[in-house]
Symmetry: C2
Subunit: 330 residues, 2 copies
């Protein structure tokens, strides 16, 4: 208690007020107030992360902060929205320390610069349960109708950005460190996979750049198989995923060559935070269009007519059964 105020007021003033942006009034009020830029629409999204469900409680606090922000920025990326702010709900359990909060805030400060957004407000509470974070992220877009999953059409090609499966493998490594040896990974390869799980890389700017070349678009958070199924089911299409076309990191290739069964966590593991989109354009046209975006685009299949869950086709043209199709929250 300082000046009759509480620990919550102290935490806000010390750690979070320095992160506050325009409209947040230095977090001195309960609400933020902003105007959307002229002729732009506001895009909002909310994702919640629970310790030991979505991240590890003993991950570096900087990375926990960055993951909480970035999974939301990835949703905005899927809509082609430009981020400008976020609200943070932080439910702290007994274990927090000043050092932890300082590192957590420094992770946010770092990513605010990287992604051009600032803290608009939020809530800090205590919880008897695990550390829990909710971020509400705000972006803006010029598009009257930003891309939606349901805009995918039969006959379109399917594409992803970057590489898939790294985070799913990274989670397995985090849970069972001995796998590094079984998979024949170098230290650098192991670290790459762990890092991809811990700190997602939202693919900002790709959707804006591709514009009318796009059909449906979304980010992949719960695994390629499940999220492409979601796109299929709302758009009346069935995604056909050609497994030998999947873009894999060197680390994922090394692991897969040791254990071919890893194709399952690669297509069904969560936390990729790459973009999935459909297009009637050819791969070369799209690659040309995103030259400036610093991310690769790979054609991984196509959309058949009729709503259905993703079909996985291996290099021999055989259909693979999915033992599970994605990260299941329940």
């Amino acid at each position: 208690m300082v000046n009759g105020l509480t620990g919550e007021d102290d935490i806000i003033a010390r750690y979070f007020a320095p992160l506050a942006g325009e409209g947040a009034n230095a977090l001195r009020d309960d609400c933020a107030v902003f105007e959307a830029p002229p002729d732009r629409r506001v895009v909002v999204t909310l994702d919640t992360l629970v310790a030991d469900v979505h991240f590890f409680a003993d991950d570096p606090p900087e990375d926990i902060a960055r993951k909480a922000l970035r999974v939301n920025l990835s949703d905005l990326a899927g809509k082609g929205a430009t981020p400008f702010g976020y609200l943070l709900s932080l439910s702290l359990n007994e274990g927090w320390t000043a050092g932890w909060l300082e590192a957590f805030a420094s992770g946010l400060a770092c990513d605010q610069k990287t992604f051009g957004c600032s803290l608009l407000g939020g809530d800090t509470t205590r919880t008897p349960g695990p550390l829990t974070l909710s971020v509400t992220a705000f972006g803006h877009t010029a598009a009257e109708t930003p891309p939606r999953r349901e805009m995918a059409k039969p006959g379109e090609r399917l594409f992803v950005t970057g590489t898939v499966g790294d985070a799913g493998l990274g989670l397995l490594l985090r849970q069972t460190p001995e796998l590094t040896g079984c998979w024949g990974l170098t230290d650098a390869e192991r670290d790459h996979l762990l890092e991809r799980y811990r700190v997602p890389q939202p693919r900002m700017g790709v959707v804006q750049t591709l514009g009318r070349l796009l059909g449906g678009a979304m980010d992949i958070s719960d695994g390629l198989a499940l999220d492409s199924s979601r796109m299929g089911l709302v758009s009346g299409t069935t995604p056909v995923l050609l497994l030998d076309r999947l873009p894999l990191s060197t680390a994922a290739r090394t692991a897969l060559s040791q254990d071919p069964a890893l194709i399952m966590p690669i297509v069904s593991g969560g936390d990729d935070y790459e973009l999935l989109f459909s297009s009637s354009a050819e791969a070369g046209t799209l690659a040309q269009a995103v030259r400036g975006c610093d991310v690769s685009i790979t054609e991984i299949g196509y959309l058949q007519d009729g709503a259905g869950a993703a079909r996985l086709i291996d290099a021999k043209g055989q259909s693979l059964d999915l033992d599970h199709t994605g990260y299941r929250h329940f």
Copy 2:
């Protein structure tokens, strides 16, 4: 798993999609997209509620839902904003059932009608900890600078809406039911206090109606003493609260007459969700202005020059020491 989708998809489709409003695209995407009405600013706020910290896990699910929404609407009320939508983060623990979710969603549906807002999106996760809800609420306002706590000025009178202390007493009753007898309450009085804790009544429209008559304004969520201190500290004033002026319900008066020490939970208990504001106008002028708002306004003190925590003055003009000044989250 239905159609390759998960329990989360089922929950969203079954319970939450029917609540979705314009811009939410029936919750089929990760993001909502909206345009602020022309010449209006967007006001956003976020509050998190943790079971057995902010409500009781065995409260009726309808009421848990309504409280989560209403504490946020109360923040918007403090800014004079008109609500239009909200995002919901629901972290469910093992104990949830279909019946619970159905009742929870019906509470939201009810309040959406009452307050003219709709669900824009959110996130449903599981948690090994207590049920946790975060709501981000959206409103709009015509005011270029909506009222802030810091706009309060020395010499202004202090006012509150409705009655204070009911929820704080309601919480004590919920924790120790035998107090009903000690306080000499009728069943109706007991139920009134319990209800005031369980389902707040945000005072929409008052701030808009008072407009330029207002100095500083905020909602009271952590107790009159603490929240008025917060107003004082950011506005360079010291709130002087005249305890015999506080507007009390019949139930609170009955209890206080049995136990004068209850003045402390009345001024320092949380969950009032009334509005606190300062004004240089007289009480009669304000009462006249809010005739149509269906809520009373009471003058409870004034603001002295110089930043300071609230001073409590009893009927004899004596200063009371606060053993604690409000709901402390930490």
